[in-house]
């Protein structure tokens, strides 16, 4: 078996330098690699380009790296709910590229699947289409979009094993599998790291071949962005 386990988040980021492009998994605060983000903040790497669906919130997730001015550019689909982000964007300190969420996902998937580009209908006729090749297929226009390139992919899974196999839970899966497949170096943090043989091979979401380094996160806050509940005893 190929050794992939590292002791902690800091060691997992070995080789990550200023100016690199990172993919960071998660949707909102759900399924984000919170231990890696904390380690990245301590590490102090700067001028980073982050490909992530969202930019976290003030004080958590990628919001932490925005506060410390470590991010130069964000490539995201939705960036509301973050005052510091908005301030840096409007002042021009932070470069922002907004792209449709399905295109973001597919550009990650393509990168991990060895496909340099693809065509999608999302964004045809909008400012997203500016400067892009448009092709007709069965009379309908599609935009050409390129696969991303990322130096590091930072992902979070529920369970993982020493071989790098990953299993996700609930909607915390989101962008993590495609980003795991796409990173030049993919680092996975997991809530529970087990020896090889403990996970059912039928249940693996991401095969270990895509994961270069894996560790068990020291602590998970798993903050909830919008806590919505219904009173007890209400029927479904």
């Amino acid at each position: 078996m190929i050794r992939k386990v590292v002791a902690n988040a800091d060691l997992a980021l070995d080789g990550l330098t200023d100016g690199m492009t990172l993919m960071v998994g998660g949707f909102g605060l759900c399924g984000i690699p919170e231990n890696l983000i904390a380690a990245l903040k301590l590490r102090g790497s700067r001028n980073l380009t982050c490909i992530a669906n969202n930019a976290g919130v003030d004080g958590f997730g990628l919001g932490l790296l925005l506060e410390s001015r470590q991010i130069r550019k964000m490539i995201s689909s939705y960036v509301g709910e973050n005052d510091e982000f908005e301030r840096q964007m409007l002042s021009g300190e932070l470069e922002v590229e907004l792209i449709p969420q399905g295109t973001l996902a597919e550009r990650c998937r393509a990168a991990g699947a060895g496909i340099p580009a693809f065509f999608t209908p999302a964004g045809v006729g909008t400012e997203v289409a500016e400067g892009k090749e448009v092709r007709l297929f069965q009379g309908k226009p599609y935009l050409m979009e390129y696969a991303f390139e990322a130096d590091f992919a930072l992902v979070k899974a529920w369970k993982g094993d020493e071989a790098g196999n990953l299993i996700f839970k609930g909607t915390a899966r989101n962008f993590n599998p495609m980003m795991a497949m796409a990173g030049r170096i993919t680092v996975a943090e997991v809530e529970e790291l087990v020896p090889a043989g403990m996970l059912d091979p039928n249940a693996i979401h991401v095969p270990g071949i895509f994961v270069h380094r894996i560790f068990q996160g020291a602590h998970y806050e798993k903050r909830i962005e919008q806590r919505t509940v219904r009173p007890k005893n209400t029927p479904l």
Binding site: S77, L98, G102, V128, G170, I224, V229, L236
Partner: protein, 219 residues
């Protein structure tokens, strides 16, 4: 009287058909799920990676790993499944989702929609809206007829950056139900209880077609 948000959602719920997979956007569209009759065979998709989305959890049972695209805590129903974002938008682009309901800042009488950016003021991003409107066969917009300044949101052409072109099929507002015929414009199908055709004409900036007696919504 003009409908409130729940009234708009209640009217849109009447558009649902058994056997459909439906994606509900953030805001008024989310409320549509509250008006689905018990036992109605329909499944809600949320683009962050769930089919078979259930109601909000009972207090104390929230799970940080189970949210909808609005980042709200939710539950899953029997038969639910989870999947990654590429699979999620795969099913959307491949038209497996029969209906998309979403909010808008502006809709044009040709079916264009704008809902992601006000240049110089507000940029939150398009999220999954551009993918959804580019692919869904059936798109219903849920919104107020006029904006906070009292200006019509139903225009001859959108003034804000577009989310999609010629895609909206129907609009349900606090005043009316309108179908969009890209050649003719907004066709007035129904009016909210107590709202006059004249009021709808006055508050619709785009081309409006009024044919015969326009019935009141039955809610």
């Amino acid at each position: 009287m003009a409908l409130d948000k729940n009234g708009i959602a209640r009217r849109i719920a009447q558009e649902l058909r058994e056997g459909w997979y439906v994606n509900l956007g953030i805001g008024i569209p989310t409320l549509v799920a509250n008006f689905v009759p018990e036992g109605f065979a329909i499944e809600f998709q949320s683009e962050n990676g769930i089919l078979g989305m259930g109601p909000f959890p009972i207090e104390g049972e929230e799970d940080a790993d189970l949210i909808n695209a609005g980042k709200q805590t939710i539950t899953s129903l029997p038969g639910a499944s989870f999947f990654d974002s590429a699979t999620s938008f795969g099913m959307i682009r491949a038209r497996k989702v029969q209906l998309t309901v979403l909010g808008a800042m502006e809709v044009s009488d040709r079916g264009d929609i704008a809902n992601w950016k006000i240049p110089g003021k507000m940029v939150k991003g398009m999220g999954g809206a551009m993918d959804l409107v580019a692919s869904a066969d059936n798109i219903i917009v849920a919104m107020q007829h006029s904006n906070r300044e009292g200006e019509s949101k139903l225009l001859s052409a959108c003034t804000l950056p577009l989310t999609g072109v010629g895609c909206v099929k129907k609009v349900v507002t606090d005043l009316a139900v309108l179908e969009i015929d890209p050649q003719r414009g907004f066709i007035l199908l129904e009016r909210a209880p107590g709202v006059s055709v004249d009021e709808i004409i006055a508050k619709t900036a785009g081309r409006l077609i009024v044919e015969g007696d326009v019935p009141e919504m039955v809610l």
